[in-house]
């Protein structure tokens, strides 16, 4: 049995690295890249934790995970105990352990961060969740008094799933409505298999269903039924339908055949499994020379997916520099290791094609950085006369998303801002429609899985407050 080690020893240790699939191999498959800690790695890393009181790491966790406690359980080799500690507040531990940008969250607030070696909390969470799944360990469901109140959740992404799980644990009758054929939202359509295996998402969704949450797939709220109609059947509603619609650059040639939005490219690959065509029926084009526009996580995912589909050359074309790239460092480094070519300070101005609509090249212009703009980042300015042609046969736009209006336009009295995102109270996620709450990307614009989880938790609390103080959408309508 492992045990706590002396403080001095903890200081000597450095962060335990996580093994990864070798670059040479991984660029030819869709299997997960980081391979996870072995038991020994997890214990070694957990022993480094100083068990701070109060624990500053928790300040960085929107999922409110009791980090020191679950780490302590790992040291004690009580892995199921550690799993239950995490599960108490976070219903998506294996997902979070993989895709949460910990460097901006708990790693940042961990005291060891000052020494440049924060505890690898995410890797530990992943280890614990994977262990529990492999050992088939399930949380024992507490005896709860069922409440006679029904909550509808629109969208089964991280915000919706979290809110649903928390409310179900409080005893509410919860139904999630999902437009696609599978639950998970961005976790299934957006994030590639090599970063987040779909079997893991399916498993954690299954665990949430075990809590009594009902998931209705193939149901487009806003079209199959309006939010107004749901309000007649449910006591409260949480809108978590995601950011949705892809943004395009608005340059000539963008509707040529081989120009994809990252949303389409990734949805075909991840949700529809086009990378296994023709075993799966959904086709995808596999470009030889691909340009991905943008440098966020979605751009990295698109570039690395294109590579795995057999591209000979994949470029990330970004108008700023590596420093401003919004992707997680880990993802950026993975892409660099895999041989993605980064064309910084480069802006596409035109996409050129042949008569059949096939892309032949993109015309770009070189940029330089000027004064900082509203976002605090230095504004990229085109350098006149530097236009050049980059021969490519496929372009993927990964420059962000805009709000999808389908849900909002079917919700009377629920205000959106000028960009179409729901206006909410930051603390409670309450919209301007009584009994209707909203969170995740449809409030924040494209953000992170962990902030969506945080919204789901806040909304669940606020919905509980609303319903326990006698609130009900159904009542409002009857009166």
């Amino acid at each position: 049995m492992a045990k706590m080690i002396p403080m001095k020893e903890r200081g000597k240790r450095v962060q335990r690295a996580m093994p990864e699939q070798a670059v040479k191999e991984r660029i030819h498959n869709f299997n997960e890249v980081p391979l996870g800690y072995a038991k020994e790695d997890a214990i070694y890393e957990a022993q480094r934790c100083l068990q701070c009181d109060p624990p500053t790491c928790m300040e960085g966790c929107p999922a409110e995970v009791d980090i020191p406690q679950f780490i302590k359980k790992i040291v004690e080799e009580d892995f199921s105990g550690a799993y239950f500690k995490i599960l108490k507040t976070n219903s998506l531990p294996a997902v979070c352990g993989r895709v949460c940008p910990q460097e901006d969250q708990c790693y940042k607030t961990c005291v060891w961060n000052k020494a440049g070696k924060p505890i690898a909390i995410g890797r530990l969470a992943r280890f614990v969740a994977d262990w529990a799944r492999e050992q088939n360990i399930h949380e024992e469901l507490p005896e709860i008094e069922e409440k006679d109140k029904r909550v509808a959740i629109v969208g089964s992404g991280p915000a919706g799933l979290t809110c649903a799980a928390d409310l179900a644990k409080m005893g509410y009758d919860v139904t999630i409505f999902e437009a696609l054929q599978k639950p998970g939202g961005v976790l299934v359509y957006g994030i590639p298999e090599f970063r987040l295996p779909k079997a893991i998402v399916e498993y954690e969704v299954g665990e949430i269903k075990r809590l009594g949450v009902k998931v209705v797939t193939n149901f487009v709220v806003g079209l199959t039924k309006s939010v107004d109609e749901l309000a007649e059947e449910f006591d409260a509603i949480f809108l978590a339908n995601g950011a949705g619609a892809p943004r395009f650059m608005g340059i000539p040639g963008e509707n040529l055949n081989d120009v994809y939005s990252a949303n389409e490219f990734l949805t075909r690959c991840n949700l529809m499994k086009a990378y296994r065509f023709p075993e799966f029926d959904t086709p995808i084009k596999a470009g030889k020379k691909v340009a991905v526009i943008g440098a966020g996580n979605v751009a990295m995912d698109s570039a690395r997916t294109a590579l795995r589909l057999g591209a000979e050359e994949v470029h990330i074309v970004y108008r700023r520099t590596r420093k401003e790239a919004p992707a997680r460092r880990e993802e950026l480094v993975h892409a660099e290791e895999e041989g993605i070519i980064f064309d910084y300070l480069t802006l596409p101005v035109k996409i050129l094609g042949d008569k059949k609509g096939n892309v032949t090249s993109i015309e770009c212009i070189k940029m330089r950085l000027g004064e900082p703009d509203e976002s605090g980042r230095r504004r990229p300015i085109p350098i006149e006369g530097t236009n050049f042609n980059m021969p490519v046969d496929m372009v993927i736009d990964a420059i962000g998303t805009v709000a999808n209006p389908i849900v909002a336009r079917s919700a009377t009295g629920v205000q959106t801002d000028e960009r179409g995102y729901f206006v909410t109270d930051e603390k409670t996620c309450a919209t301007t429609g009584k009994g209707i709450f909203a969170g995740g990307d449809i409030v924040r614009g494209a953000a992170t899985v962990i902030s969506a989880i945080g919204d789901g938790k806040r909304a669940a609390k606020a919905i509980n407050d609303y319903l326990s103080s006698g609130g009900s959408l159904r009542k409002q309508i009857i009166h």
């Binding site: 149901f219 949705g244 619609a245 949303n263 949805t267």
Partner: protein
């Protein structure tokens, strides 16, 4: 939710009609809208226009022609079989109003798509001249329904095997010459037919609405696969359409985009047929 085929009819070697139990969709459906279905977990999502629906009985009717692997497999499904996914109603309803004399044009399986629009236009008090056409007699579908749904029904076949010889666009030209006060035209069929309808209607200055059968994935505005240029602006067929002013559609781009996966679609169908012959599927 379970989406079961409750009636299947073979109308021609390559044309089938199916009624699918889908109460919520039937409840919300309106003329002009479509559904997206998946046969099984490995299937692709394909859009099909809603040909008819019954709110009380809770079904949706779709009509399709076997073209690729998915429609070929669809034709092999039977009453009692269930879809893995069946979602809708998607897209915007047709803008039905009382306009006066209007013309609806349906070509091939597009006849099934123009049917609910024709019916709704007549119910709204319009004088509806419907023109339907197909390659040959056997492919003229829903003739009785169309006759009931319209004020006047004109039929044509490319090979002259039924009623008369000629394209729907030739019939349309004759109608427009004769009728001086056609307010609007709706046309649904193959892209090239819809384009030519617009070309024919243009000199008469009649507003022409077309329903675009773009390639889609989610059908809810999430992917942009179905984008089309209308009046110089990019639109998503699924959420901004599927109906657009045909005179403003960039047809060349649209028709190019329809062929995007042509090679892969053919490959997929060939492999499927081969497997079937070997008795593997």
């Amino acid at each position: 939710m379970v989406f079961k085929i409750i009636r299947k009819e073979k109308w021609h070697d390559v044309v089938y009609s199916m009624r699918v139990k889908a109460p919520y969709i039937a409840q919300a459906a309106q003329p002009g809208q479509f559904v997206i279905l998946m046969i099984d977990e490995k299937g692709e999502r394909i859009p099909l226009t809603i040909a008819d629906y019954d709110r009380e009985e809770g079904w949706i009717q779709v009509v399709f022609q076997t073209v690729g692997k998915t429609t070929t497999r669809l034709a092999q499904m039977n009453e009692g079989d269930e879809f893995f996914s069946f979602v809708g109603p998607l897209g915007n309803p047709s803008k039905i109003g009382k306009y006066g004399t209007v013309v609806t044009v349906g070509g091939g399986t597009g006849i099934a798509c123009i049917y609910p629009v024709t019916k709704a236009l007549k119910e709204a008090g319009n004088r509806v001249i419907a023109i339907i056409g197909a390659r040959t007699k056997g492919l003229i579908i829903m003739e009785d329904e169309m006759r009931k749904a319209s004020t006047e029904l004109l039929i044509t076949t490319d090979d002259g095997s039924y009623v008369r010889k000629g394209f729907v666009t030739e019939v349309l030209d004759e109608v427009l010459q004769k009728e001086k006060d056609v307010k609007k035209i709706w046309a649904i069929g193959p892209a090239i037919m819809m384009k030519v309808v617009c070309d024919v209607a243009k000199p008469y200055n009649v507003e022409t609405t077309v329903s675009l059968n773009a390639i889609m994935v989610d059908g809810t505005g999430m992917c942009g696969s179905c984008r089309v240029t209308v009046d110089g602006e990019t639109k998503f067929t699924c959420v901004d359409g599927p109906e657009f002013n045909g005179h403003l559609v960039d047809w060349r781009e649209f028709m190019n985009r329809l062929l995007k996966y042509d090679r892969l679609e053919k490959l997929s169908l060939e492999m499927y047929k081969e497997k079937q012959q070997k008795g593997e599927e």
